[in-house]
Protein backbone atom coordinates (compact mmCIF):
# COMPACT_ATOMS: atom_id res chain seq x y z
CA UNK A 1 0.00 0.00 0.00
CA UNK A 2 2.85 2.33 0.89
CA UNK A 3 4.48 1.79 -2.49
CA UNK A 4 1.14 2.40 -4.25
CA UNK A 5 0.74 5.67 -2.40
CA UNK A 6 4.16 6.86 -3.47
CA UNK A 7 3.81 5.45 -6.98
CA UNK A 8 0.25 5.94 -8.31
CA UNK A 9 -0.74 3.46 -11.01
CA UNK A 10 -2.61 4.45 -14.17
CA UNK A 11 -6.29 3.54 -14.19
CA UNK A 12 -7.27 0.40 -16.07
CA UNK A 13 -9.02 1.49 -19.23
CA UNK A 14 -11.79 -1.05 -19.70
CA UNK A 15 -14.15 -0.36 -22.60
CA UNK A 16 -17.75 -1.36 -23.32
CA UNK A 17 -18.08 -3.92 -26.11
CA UNK A 18 -19.62 -2.01 -28.99
CA UNK A 19 -19.65 -4.84 -31.56
CA UNK A 20 -23.42 -5.40 -31.24
CA UNK A 21 -26.36 -3.31 -32.41
CA UNK A 22 -26.85 0.31 -31.42
CA UNK A 23 -30.37 1.63 -31.06
CA UNK A 24 -31.66 5.15 -30.53
CA UNK A 25 -35.00 6.77 -29.84
CA UNK A 26 -35.61 10.50 -30.29
CA UNK A 27 -38.80 12.07 -28.94
CA UNK A 28 -39.18 15.75 -29.77
CA UNK A 29 -41.95 18.27 -29.20
CA UNK A 30 -41.63 20.64 -32.16
CA UNK A 31 -44.88 22.53 -31.48
CA UNK A 32 -44.02 26.02 -30.16
CA UNK A 33 -40.31 25.11 -30.27
CA UNK A 34 -38.91 26.82 -33.37
CA UNK A 35 -35.56 25.41 -34.47
CA UNK A 36 -36.27 21.96 -33.06
CA UNK A 37 -36.59 20.47 -36.59
CA UNK A 38 -32.96 21.50 -37.19
CA UNK A 39 -31.99 19.67 -34.00
CA UNK A 40 -33.77 16.54 -35.22
CA UNK A 41 -31.95 16.77 -38.56
CA UNK A 42 -28.59 17.09 -36.77
CA UNK A 43 -29.36 14.07 -34.57
CA UNK A 44 -30.44 12.05 -37.61
CA UNK A 45 -27.05 12.78 -39.24
CA UNK A 46 -25.20 11.90 -36.05
CA UNK A 47 -27.00 8.59 -35.50
CA UNK A 48 -26.48 7.63 -39.15
CA UNK A 49 -22.76 8.46 -38.86
CA UNK A 50 -22.42 6.45 -35.63
CA UNK A 51 -24.31 3.47 -37.16
CA UNK A 52 -27.36 3.58 -34.89
CA UNK A 53 -30.76 2.13 -35.77
CA UNK A 54 -32.60 5.39 -35.22
CA UNK A 55 -36.29 5.95 -34.44
CA UNK A 56 -37.70 9.47 -34.27
CA UNK A 57 -41.10 10.70 -33.21
CA UNK A 58 -42.39 14.26 -33.22
CA UNK A 59 -44.88 15.82 -30.83
CA UNK A 60 -45.55 13.05 -28.32
CA UNK A 61 -48.07 13.76 -25.58
CA UNK A 62 -46.96 13.24 -21.99
CA UNK A 63 -48.46 9.76 -22.03
CA UNK A 64 -46.86 8.98 -25.39
CA UNK A 65 -43.41 9.79 -23.99
CA UNK A 66 -43.91 6.83 -21.65
CA UNK A 67 -45.57 4.63 -24.29
CA UNK A 68 -42.74 5.21 -26.77
CA UNK A 69 -40.12 4.40 -24.12
CA UNK A 70 -42.01 1.19 -23.27
CA UNK A 71 -42.13 0.26 -26.97
CA UNK A 72 -38.41 1.00 -27.30
CA UNK A 73 -37.66 -1.25 -24.31
CA UNK A 74 -39.70 -4.05 -25.89
CA UNK A 75 -37.91 -3.58 -29.22
CA UNK A 76 -34.51 -3.79 -27.50
CA UNK A 77 -35.47 -6.90 -25.51
CA UNK A 78 -36.84 -8.56 -28.69
CA UNK A 79 -33.83 -7.59 -30.84
CA UNK A 80 -32.44 -10.72 -32.55
CA UNK A 81 -28.77 -9.72 -32.29
CA UNK A 82 -26.93 -8.63 -29.14
CA UNK A 83 -27.51 -4.94 -28.35
CA UNK A 84 -24.44 -2.94 -27.31
CA UNK A 85 -25.83 0.48 -26.54
CA UNK A 86 -28.96 2.64 -26.48
CA UNK A 87 -29.40 6.39 -26.79
CA UNK A 88 -32.60 8.23 -25.85
CA UNK A 89 -32.99 11.89 -26.83
CA UNK A 90 -35.79 13.87 -25.19
CA UNK A 91 -36.52 17.40 -26.41
CA UNK A 92 -39.38 19.52 -25.09
CA UNK A 93 -40.21 22.40 -22.80
CA UNK A 94 -39.51 21.43 -19.23
CA UNK A 95 -39.05 22.16 -15.56
CA UNK A 96 -36.76 20.47 -13.05
CA UNK A 97 -37.42 16.74 -13.34
CA UNK A 98 -40.33 17.21 -15.77
CA UNK A 99 -40.94 17.33 -19.51
CA UNK A 100 -43.98 18.88 -21.16
CA UNK A 101 -45.78 16.79 -23.77
CA UNK A 102 -47.48 18.17 -26.86
CA UNK A 103 -50.73 18.15 -24.83
CA UNK A 104 -49.08 20.48 -22.26
CA UNK A 105 -49.26 17.76 -19.61
CA UNK A 106 -46.08 16.90 -17.71
CA UNK A 107 -44.20 13.62 -17.54
CA UNK A 108 -41.59 12.80 -14.89
CA UNK A 109 -38.09 12.21 -16.24
CA UNK A 110 -37.52 9.61 -13.50
CA UNK A 111 -40.43 7.56 -14.88
CA UNK A 112 -38.81 7.63 -18.33
CA UNK A 113 -35.38 6.67 -16.98
CA UNK A 114 -36.86 3.69 -15.09
CA UNK A 115 -37.88 1.95 -18.31
CA UNK A 116 -34.37 1.03 -19.47
CA UNK A 117 -32.61 0.44 -16.15
CA UNK A 118 -30.86 -2.85 -15.39
CA UNK A 119 -33.99 -4.22 -13.71
CA UNK A 120 -36.48 -3.42 -16.46
CA UNK A 121 -34.49 -3.95 -19.67
CA UNK A 122 -32.63 -7.25 -19.67
CA UNK A 123 -30.98 -6.80 -23.07
CA UNK A 124 -29.32 -3.60 -21.84
CA UNK A 125 -28.23 -4.99 -18.49
CA UNK A 126 -24.71 -3.73 -17.90
CA UNK A 127 -24.73 -2.01 -21.32
CA UNK A 128 -24.38 1.75 -21.76
CA UNK A 129 -27.60 3.79 -21.86
CA UNK A 130 -27.27 7.46 -22.74
CA UNK A 131 -30.03 10.02 -22.25
CA UNK A 132 -29.72 13.42 -23.89
CA UNK A 133 -32.21 15.95 -22.57
CA UNK A 134 -32.73 19.27 -24.33
CA UNK A 135 -35.13 21.12 -22.04
CA UNK A 136 -35.34 23.83 -19.42
CA UNK A 137 -34.82 22.72 -15.81
CA UNK A 138 -36.08 25.89 -14.14
CA UNK A 139 -36.32 29.63 -14.61
CA UNK A 140 -32.88 30.84 -13.52
CA UNK A 141 -30.72 32.79 -15.94
CA UNK A 142 -26.94 32.49 -15.73
CA UNK A 143 -25.23 35.84 -16.20
CA UNK A 144 -21.79 34.26 -15.88
CA UNK A 145 -19.01 34.84 -13.35
CA UNK A 146 -15.37 35.77 -13.55
CA UNK A 147 -13.04 32.84 -14.09
CA UNK A 148 -11.82 31.20 -10.85
CA UNK A 149 -9.86 28.16 -9.64
CA UNK A 150 -10.84 24.57 -10.39
CA UNK A 151 -11.66 21.93 -7.82
CA UNK A 152 -11.11 18.28 -8.55
CA UNK A 153 -12.67 15.39 -6.61
CA UNK A 154 -11.81 11.74 -7.20
CA UNK A 155 -13.78 8.77 -5.92
CA UNK A 156 -12.55 5.24 -6.24
CA UNK A 157 -15.13 2.46 -6.34
CA UNK A 158 -14.98 -1.28 -5.75
CA UNK A 159 -16.09 -3.75 -8.41
CA UNK A 160 -19.19 -5.52 -7.05
CA UNK A 161 -20.18 -9.06 -8.12
CA UNK A 162 -23.82 -8.17 -8.70
CA UNK A 163 -25.06 -5.34 -10.85
CA UNK A 164 -26.96 -2.47 -9.26
CA UNK A 165 -30.23 -1.34 -10.83
CA UNK A 166 -28.92 2.08 -11.77
CA UNK A 167 -25.51 1.65 -13.41
CA UNK A 168 -24.23 2.14 -16.94
CA UNK A 169 -26.38 5.18 -17.54
CA UNK A 170 -25.41 8.64 -18.58
CA UNK A 171 -27.74 11.65 -18.38
CA UNK A 172 -26.69 14.64 -20.45
CA UNK A 173 -28.79 17.72 -19.75
CA UNK A 174 -28.66 20.84 -21.91
CA UNK A 175 -28.45 23.00 -18.80
CA UNK A 176 -27.72 22.73 -15.08
CA UNK A 177 -30.40 22.17 -12.42
CA UNK A 178 -32.89 25.01 -12.00
CA UNK A 179 -31.85 26.90 -15.13
CA UNK A 180 -33.31 27.88 -18.47
CA UNK A 181 -32.10 26.21 -21.66
CA UNK A 182 -31.78 28.53 -24.64
Amino acid sequence: LESEMSNPQPLEEEKYDMSGSRLSLTLCVTKARKGSEEDMDALKRMFHHLKFESTMKSNPTAEQFLEELDKFQQTIDDWEEPVSCAFVVLMAHGEEGLLEGEDEKMVRLEDLFEVLNNKNCKALRGKPKVYIIQACRGEHRDLGEEMGGDQVAMIRKNHPQTIPTYTDTMHIYSTVEGHLSY
Partner: protein
Amino acid sequence: RHEDNGSGFIQTLTDVFINKRGPITELLEEVTRRMADTEVIQEGKPRKVNPEVQSTLRKQLILQ
Protein backbone atom coordinates in the same frame (compact mmCIF):
# COMPACT_ATOMS: atom_id res chain seq x y z
CA ARG B 1 -33.02 27.73 -29.81
CA HIS B 2 -31.99 29.61 -32.91
CA GLU B 3 -34.98 29.53 -35.26
CA ASP B 4 -32.87 28.52 -38.27
CA ASN B 5 -29.93 26.72 -36.68
CA GLY B 6 -31.46 24.83 -33.74
CA SER B 7 -30.23 24.73 -30.15
CA GLY B 8 -26.61 25.43 -29.24
CA PHE B 9 -26.47 22.27 -27.13
CA ILE B 10 -27.73 19.75 -29.70
CA GLN B 11 -25.82 21.38 -32.58
CA THR B 12 -22.57 21.41 -30.57
CA LEU B 13 -23.04 17.86 -29.29
CA THR B 14 -23.77 16.41 -32.74
CA ASP B 15 -20.82 18.29 -34.27
CA VAL B 16 -18.43 16.94 -31.60
CA PHE B 17 -19.80 13.37 -31.75
CA ILE B 18 -19.46 13.27 -35.55
CA ASN B 19 -16.10 14.99 -35.91
CA LYS B 20 -14.16 13.91 -32.82
CA ARG B 21 -13.09 10.49 -31.60
CA GLY B 22 -12.53 9.34 -28.00
CA PRO B 23 -14.33 8.26 -24.82
CA ILE B 24 -17.77 9.87 -24.51
CA THR B 25 -16.75 11.57 -21.26
CA GLU B 26 -13.98 13.42 -23.10
CA LEU B 27 -16.28 14.33 -25.99
CA LEU B 28 -18.70 15.81 -23.46
CA GLU B 29 -15.92 17.83 -21.87
CA GLU B 30 -15.33 19.30 -25.34
CA VAL B 31 -19.08 20.08 -25.67
CA THR B 32 -19.08 21.75 -22.23
CA ARG B 33 -15.90 23.70 -23.05
CA ARG B 34 -17.35 25.00 -26.33
CA MET B 35 -20.64 25.98 -24.69
CA ALA B 36 -18.88 27.66 -21.76
CA ASP B 37 -16.97 29.77 -24.28
CA THR B 38 -20.21 30.87 -25.93
CA GLU B 39 -22.46 33.71 -24.88
CA VAL B 40 -26.18 33.56 -25.59
CA ILE B 41 -28.00 36.86 -26.04
CA GLN B 42 -31.46 36.82 -24.46
CA GLU B 43 -33.60 39.95 -24.22
CA GLY B 44 -30.54 41.91 -25.33
CA LYS B 45 -28.40 40.64 -22.42
CA PRO B 46 -25.56 38.11 -22.50
CA ARG B 47 -26.25 34.77 -20.77
CA LYS B 48 -24.21 31.65 -20.18
CA VAL B 49 -25.52 28.12 -20.54
CA ASN B 50 -23.68 24.85 -20.10
CA PRO B 51 -24.64 21.19 -20.06
CA GLU B 52 -24.60 18.95 -16.99
CA VAL B 53 -23.53 15.31 -17.20
CA GLN B 54 -24.50 12.67 -14.65
CA SER B 55 -22.86 9.30 -15.17
CA THR B 56 -22.90 5.83 -13.66
CA LEU B 57 -20.87 4.35 -16.53
CA ARG B 58 -18.39 1.70 -15.34
CA LYS B 59 -16.21 1.58 -18.43
CA GLN B 60 -15.14 3.80 -21.28
CA LEU B 61 -17.83 4.30 -23.92
CA ILE B 62 -16.28 4.86 -27.32
CA LEU B 63 -18.67 5.36 -30.21
CA GLN B 64 -16.17 5.51 -33.11
